[in-house]
């Protein structure tokens, strides 16, 4: 099986039965890995070997495998989504490693992301933050004319950049405080920048921040690790905007909060 240029690797992978049990590292040998494989394909090969040897495969999240769904979530050699910038784990190729390397693979670590099994974590805390305010309420009915609402190009671009967030949780995984500020700031920004988002603007930021805190995420200390590790390169400027939106909501909203 080991063809020309193929690699043999040692994997140290976190194995955990479920969220109520204690996990531990298991060592696996990944043999004959093509440098052109993605990191997830390498795991597929290892899992096939495990299954054919009557062993339990390693559980991990994956879906689109083209970097847009936000499902994959591996903390590889001390960094979320591995050593390359601006890519998800599924876009990481084995040529980023050397033959004979030992690779340590861990799940996202956060109280708000409990481990479901092995490398798969429960990120429904993100869904609950979105449910708390990451939406615009619109009346259903006939579709409106395109370009009915004019939007400044700069604002549209900024909103689009924020909307690029795929909600993978790498920001939380990278942050030494397990803060979800980059995720929440991107979701608040994409709507705060657009006219459609203005009606619920203040309720949105207050409710989303409240939910974020209730989920048990940590506090941002502006280290910038989230921005550096974000596969979609979401900017820290969004966090400043979130802080601004929050202050504005506190000051401007007429309700007693």
């Amino acid at each position: 099986m080991s063809g020309h240029g193929n690699m043999n690797l040692t994997l140290k992978v976190w194995k955990q039965k479920n969220k109520d049990t204690k996990g531990k590292f298991e060592t696996y040998q990944a043999k004959g890995i093509s440098p052109d494989m993605s990191f997830l394909e390498m795991f597929d090969v290892v899992n096939e070997q495990l299954i054919s040897g009557n062993q339990e495969p390693i559980a991990f999240d994956h879906d689109c495998r083209e970097g847009i769904c936000g499902a994959c979530s591996m903390y590889i050699n001390g960094r979320p989504h591995g050593p390359k910038g601006g890519v998800t784990t599924c876009q990481l190729h084995m040529r980023s490693f050397k033959d004979g390397d030992t690779i340590v693979v861990e799940p996202w670590r956060s109280a708000a992301f409990p481990v479901i099994k092995d490398l798969a974590v429960d990120r429904s805390s993100f869904d609950r933050i979105i449910s708390a305010g990451g939406f615009v309420s619109v009346n259903t009915g006939n579709s409106k004319d395109a370009n009915n609402i004019l939007i400044n190009k700069d604002d549209a671009d900024e909103a689009f950049n924020a909307a690029a967030c795929i909600g993978c949780g790498a920001c939380v995984a990278a942050c030494k405080n397990s803060s979800a500020m980059l995720f929440v700031s991107a979701k608040v920004s994409q709507l705060a920048l657009l006219p459609q988002g203005q009606i619920e603007r203040y309720d949105r930021v207050l409710n989303m921040v409240k939910q974020m805190d209730e989920e048990g995420f940590g506090n941002c200390t502006n280290t910038g690790a989230c921005e550096a590790e974000c596969p979609k390169s979401i900017s820290l400027e969004n966090i400043a905007r979130l802080n601004r939106e929050y202050s504005a909501a506190k000051l401007m909203q007429d309700k007693v909060n």
Partner: protein, 230 residues
């Protein structure tokens, strides 16, 4: 919809207070540095002692001294609260963390740098502030000396005659410099004061401040120890 997320309870609220107290302490450093730099007149501490007298007797400054202590305690209390919360947010740590790949070491070690500064602060207050506020050992100026009293400038000469104290002060200023290097721009970010045009200016000012102010402070024990200023 009601939100019971106050300034003291919400994550962003705490960060805003951290930023405000941080900037307030930065403004104090500027005033402190300016007054102390009066020793560079090299007039036997005459100008400096006048400055110290003004700071010690002006009612506005004395009121601000109380506000300053509140600011310091709030900054420390918030830091402890945030650190404990953050520990809880990751009960099981990583086996392998490559922090250098995504952030500066001093941004990750703000708590340790702050603790070193606090330890220095306690020693520093014992050296000078306690002497001037709670004992009769110091006179405001030479003209006011009664009995065995000395001036604040004389006190500096005595304290900085010990080499290990000079070394301690200089090392503490290194801690301060790194704490400021992250803290200065971080405070603006926490307050949401971010702008494509002005943020680079804030960052440059922050770096300049973080290097210059601790450097001027560190030079004071050095010049007094080696008798350049006397």
């Amino acid at each position: 919809m009601s939100n019971k997320t106050g300034l003291l309870t919400s994550s962003i609220g705490k960060k805003i207070l951290m930023g405000i107290t941080g900037l307030f302490l930065i403004s104090f450093l500027l005033v402190h540095c300016f007054i102390n730099a009066l020793i560079f007149f090299n007039d036997g501490g005459e100008t400096f002692n006048k400055g110290a007298e003004f700071m010690g007797t002006n009612w506005l400054i004395r009121t601000m001294e109380i506000v300053l202590f509140i600011g310091i305690f709030a900054h420390i209390f918030l830091a402890l609260k945030l650190t404990l919360d953050n520990r809880k947010a990751r009960p099981i740590g990583y086996q392998l963390v490559n922090g250098t790949a995504n952030s500066t070491w001093y941004s990750r070690w703000m708590g340790l740098l702050g603790t070193l500064i606090l330890m220095f602060l306690i020693i520093h207050l014992a050296h000078f502030w306690v002497q001037s506020r709670f004992t009769d050992n110091l006179a405001h100026t030479r003209e006011h000396i009664v009995g065995n009293q000395i001036t604040m400038f004389d006190r500096m000469s005595i304290v900085f005659s010990e080499l290990w104290i000079v070394v301690l002060y200089c090392l503490s200023m290194v801690s301060l410099a790194y704490h400021l290097l992250h803290g200065f721009q971080s405070a603006f970010q926490s307050l949401g004061l971010n702008h494509k045009k002005y943020s680079p200016l804030i960052k440059t000012t922050g770096v300049a401040f973080s290097i210059l102010i601790p450097l001027i402070f560190a030079s004071m024990p050095l010049v007094m120890h080696f008798g350049i200023i006397k």
